[in-house]
Assembly symmetry: C3
Homo-oligomer: 257 residues x 3
């Protein structure tokens, strides 16, 4: 399988392009991760707006360069209807959107059904941890928002889902794997063991994948976002020991990539 890094030429081009074009990116996400997700997008040059105030889900997905929908947005007042409206509006307008089915398969059946119903609006990228990807494919889920599988255990599932859902599918873990419907796949290495100890890093990776969809194709977008996270995480990890300083250093490294 090919490998993608921050030095891959098309990744470098995508990073420069996002900073230059500074597109408006609209997201529905949960309030645990919203602040970090916005700061990650700002750090890399995008202009994020988050949330489902009255009128937002009908208007913003059409005007945005890309959209991300994090299932756990349902934990605040984002209704299933608002989530659906955002996905449908993006789909109709031709705006690429990223789907992050946080905690799917963890035991909340009603929640899982709402999330699964969004697939018909054809997300450009689906990203999750190994348990979420497994659950989306009909297998076992994880514990809360955490994975009980290693990303390497779901490589075949990632490939199958990419074909079946006609979308780029990305799984994050110690090694990330990304596959597009054509079957082309890549791995991304790097990062740091402290990354999953900072809440919202996975959710922010979904947001950043959307941002790059505004400037490049979805496969390149996913590769760029994952490579940026891997590089910034690795650099921040070498400079810090605890999770407090690591989280700050990680954002800092993203902003100076």
């Amino acid at each position: 399988m090919e490998t993608t890094t921050i030095e891959s030429p098309d990744v470098k081009t995508a990073i420069a392009s996002l900073r230059e074009k500074a597109p408006f990116i609209y997201g529905l996400t949960n309030y645990v991760a919203a602040n970090l997700s916005a700061n990650v997008l700002l750090a890399l040059g995008a202009g994020p707006a988050i949330g489902a105030a009255p009128g937002f889900t009908a208007a913003f997905p059409a005007g945005a360069g890309a959209v991300w929908i994090n299932g756990a947005a349902l934990m605040s007042s984002v209704t299933p209807e608002a989530l659906e409206e955002a996905a449908a509006t993006a789909h109709t307008a031709g705006t690429p959107w990223v789907f992050d089915p946080v905690a799917i398969g963890a035991g909340a059946g009603e929640y899982d059904e709402i999330l699964t119903s969004l697939l018909k609006y054809k997300p450009s990228i689906i990203r999750g941890n190994a348990s979420e990807i497994s659950a989306l494919a009909g297998g076992a889920g994880g514990s809360g928002v955490d994975s009980t599988l290693d990303s390497s255990e779901v490589i075949d599932t990632v490939k199958d889902l990419a074909v079946r859902l006609d979308a780029v599918v990305a799984v994050s873990g110690e090694v990330d794997y990304i596959c597009e419907p054509s079957g082309r796949a890549t791995s991304v290495m790097g990062g740091d063991a402290k990354m999953p100890q900072v809440t919202g890093t996975g959710c922010s990776l979904g947001a950043l994948s959307a941002a790059y969809c505004a400037v490049v194709d979805p496969f390149t977008a996913a590769r760029t976002a994952h490579a940026a996270f891997a590089a910034a995480g690795e650099r921040a990890g070498t400079r810090t020991t605890g999770t407090g300083w690591f989280a700050v250093a990680f954002l800092d490294e993203l902003s100076t990539l």
Copy 2:
């Protein structure tokens, strides 16, 4: 036009007064900015409480030293009715309140109408970026939560709105401009280019403007809040290169002003 800085005598007095009196300040804001807004108020001596749990909007605006209402509070379960109750309660009780019409004019008509309807409860201060101030005056809005205008392009609009709405109106940008209904205006310079790359700084500036309303008149309050942000941003900017460390240093500088 006069200029206000952190060294202006009445600004210094206001900063000391907030630390001494430590008033309770109540806010309705969005969850992306809520954490930073609370930390900014705590850093400068106020005691913030945020949110619209049952009974809060009817009780807290009357007992608080000041209130801030950030329109994007509508993105969580704060209903238009709760927003209105908070504004009405503050108005009736004579509690000064600050209005921050985040993202007004960005394309969500239903949202814009709800926000505009709050003006009848007479905010003491209205603050926003240049596109939001433009939209509030009937002109063009921005892109999501970001401005597509420079603050210098709306100086006349700021002055007109201050007279028309009988409120202090403040616009933030590379240079901030603040005008009161009498026509007296001031500019505030400083800050750092990294400030708009940290989510919630504008929202937190609205919260801080409210805090100072609990101890001084609204014009002095707005000048003090903007001067504090400009000074802390400038100092933090000289010590940091990326946005991660900048955000921490900015809060740190505010707490030791």
Copy 3:
């Protein structure tokens, strides 16, 4: 009264046990404190999930190692019914849960009634600041989320409540006091004057108390959480002057305890 520190043998055992077992902990809390609470739990080894998306409150409290319910969760779309379902599910499943009655007694009667009604589901630990503990016992409340009493003024109230509610009751302040129904009580000293200037520290202490309930008895859990906060706060305080760096250092110290 006995004193608990980070060096107490059973505290050291509990800290090691949480890191080893990494239990799933489910919480309902407010969005101001949610991010810090999740990061605190991750820093000490637990796997948190937060929020009330459809189906979560019926499913997660039964599968979690422990639950925490922060009353201010009502400020977002967590309905009184969802709060009750979470508490009832935990109670029925025998999952220990921590109750944090934020801002009870501060003037919002409707809110206070909802919170009080949860006591019938028998929380294992109740924690708050001095005004909240006072209000829960029928006395005067505080100002917003801040206490107007010193923790030493409510020692007898803590003891009375522990017996009356058959729960461990903990009050935080310059000195923390923790009492169990048997009458056994302990104090915890340490921390730093900057801790209450960082929003969400008290809420996160409730979350952490829940996490330790998944691995030890509630009295040991509360003592461990408070001792960890006191030690990390004290260490972070000696290394920092402003609240920005303090907040980061505090989380960092927790992660390396």
